[in-house]
């Protein structure tokens, strides 16, 4: 009793304040894992639910703005909270954030948010913008220590040059990652000289590692960015809501680099092939012209030959006629040429094939 006398006597309000101070000092931020039950939203602003396991149950309170990923009864979650005794003496956890725990809960939460944002049209194809074909100023949001970032930079440097690349180094997994990425997106969107594209990249990881990219506010920030977005998160088989909200989705960070810039080696090769194809074309045209000239010459020669042949035939024919007309030919056939005046008593000359005769006309009988 003596001891009790030295104890302070609190008012109820003071007692509650002292308890809360003690909680705050002892547990400034605790994480509790359990299953959600009795989830409800009041006035569209306040969220109440219990978190329980087989041995107990604790009430939780938070605002709708703090809930970054949908939850429902039965889901296993980890809440980050401050313990609190309310003015009505009820113990509860004032929750700062909730994240699904375990593969099943992550999947469920993913599906719930996906359905919600899909219904709002956030992933609609007609919202997607095209990326510039050959950008000169790009923004990259990633962890500069991540393997995915190194892959991206290597491929960008291998493929293209002359780019201005601004990199925002952020956390890409764990609590706080989504907020950092959102701040980086906002930062680039507020620059005087806007980058032509924002690239968000992160290499592969477990579903828990990639959960930051399924955060509702991050997905909305990507969807509403003034600057077109390219998101390459995880491996080819991974799908995040950030991917779905992006203007262009890359399967991996390396793939993001491939999508973003053309391959200079491919261009150099194509340019040389293009020029190399010109010389054979010139040679081909020279050959064609040569062939055409040869053909024309042949044709001219053919025409000349034909004309000569025709003339030869004509000449031959004329020669035959001439031969036929040659008096010697007639004489050879036994005829004779008679020259002189055909009247009785005159002397005429008779030429035969073999002799020339002088003869007197003895008689002339008219036919």
């Amino acid at each position: 009793m003596e001891k009790l006398k030295n104890q302070p006597i609190f008012s109820v309000s003071d007692f509650i304040a002292v308890v809360n101070q003690t909680f705050e000092y002892a547990y400034p931020n605790i994480e509790v894992e359990g299953e959600v039950s009795s989830f409800k939203v009041n006035q569209g602003k306040f969220i109440f639910f219990d978190i329980k396991d087989s041995g107990g149950s604790v009430g939780c309170f938070m605002t709708v703005w703090q809930l970054r990923t949908p939850i429902e009864d039965g889901m296993k979650v980890i809440v980050s909270a401050i313990p609190k005794l309310t003015q009505w003496g009820k113990f509860s956890l004032t929750v700062k954030s909730v994240r699904p725990s375990g593969e099943g809960a992550l999947k469920k939460s993913f599906e719930l948010l996906k359905a919600k944002l899909e219904a709002e049209g956030l992933f609609a194809l007609d919202r997607k913008r095209q990326l510039p074909t050959s950008p000169q100023h790009i923004a990259v949001i990633s962890s500069t220590q991540a393997a995915g970032y190194a892959d991206f930079i290597k491929i960008i440097n291998d493929r293209w040059g002359g780019l201005k690349v601004e990199v925002a180094h952020v956390q890409v997994q764990g609590s706080g990652a989504s907020d950092q990425i959102i701040r980086a997106i906002n930062y680039f969107n507020q620059q005087e000289s806007l980058p032509e594209v924002i690239v968000v990249i992160r290499g592969g990881g477990s579903a828990d590692d990639l959960a930051a990219f399924n955060d509702e506010l991050l997905v909305r920030a990507i969807a509403t960015s003034r600057i077109p977005t390219l998101v390459g998160v995880g491996h080819e088989t991974d799908e995040s809501l950030a991917d779905l909200a992006a203007d262009v989705r890359a399967a991996t960070p390396s793939n993001a680099a491939q999508i973003l810039v053309p391959d200079k080696n491919e261009i150099i090769r194509a340019v040389h092939v293009q020029v190399g194809s010109l010389l054979p074309r010139i040679m081909q045209l020279i050959d064609q012209q040569k062939q055409s000239i040869e053909d024309q010459l042949c044709k001219a020669l053919d025409t000349i030959e034909k004309l000569v042949d025709e003339r030869v035939v004509q000449l031959s024919s004329l020669r035959s006629v001439l031969v036929q007309l040659n008096p010697n030919t007639v004489l050879a056939r036994g005829y004779a040429i008679v020259k002189g005046i055909i009247k009785t008593g005159s002397i005429i000359e008779i030429e035969t094939n073999k002799a020339i005769l002088k003869a007197e006309v003895i008689n002339v009988i008219n036919k």
Partner: protein, 68 residues
């Protein structure tokens, strides 16, 4: 960038135009050799430009782990 100060895009467009000329009705053997030499030079310039350009990568100084 090579001495002519044209961008890679401009040079590529110029090369495409030259290549098109070889297929056009304007093609003459007399002009072809000069055009071919121009195309060859452009190809060399484009390769030079593409291989000599380096990317400028800057890490933003701002920290994103808090609002400020």
């Amino acid at each position: 960038m090579s001495s002519t100060n044209k961008t890679i895009q401009e040079k590529t467009a110029e090369l495409s135009k030259l290549v098109e000329w070889f297929d056009s009705a304007d093609f003459t053997l007399e002009a072809a050799l000069d055009k071919f030499k121009q195309a060859e030079k452009l190809a060399v310039d484009i390769e030079h430009d593409l291989t000599s350009l380096k990317n400028e990568i800057n890490i933003v100084k701002k920290k994103f782990d808090s609002e400020n």
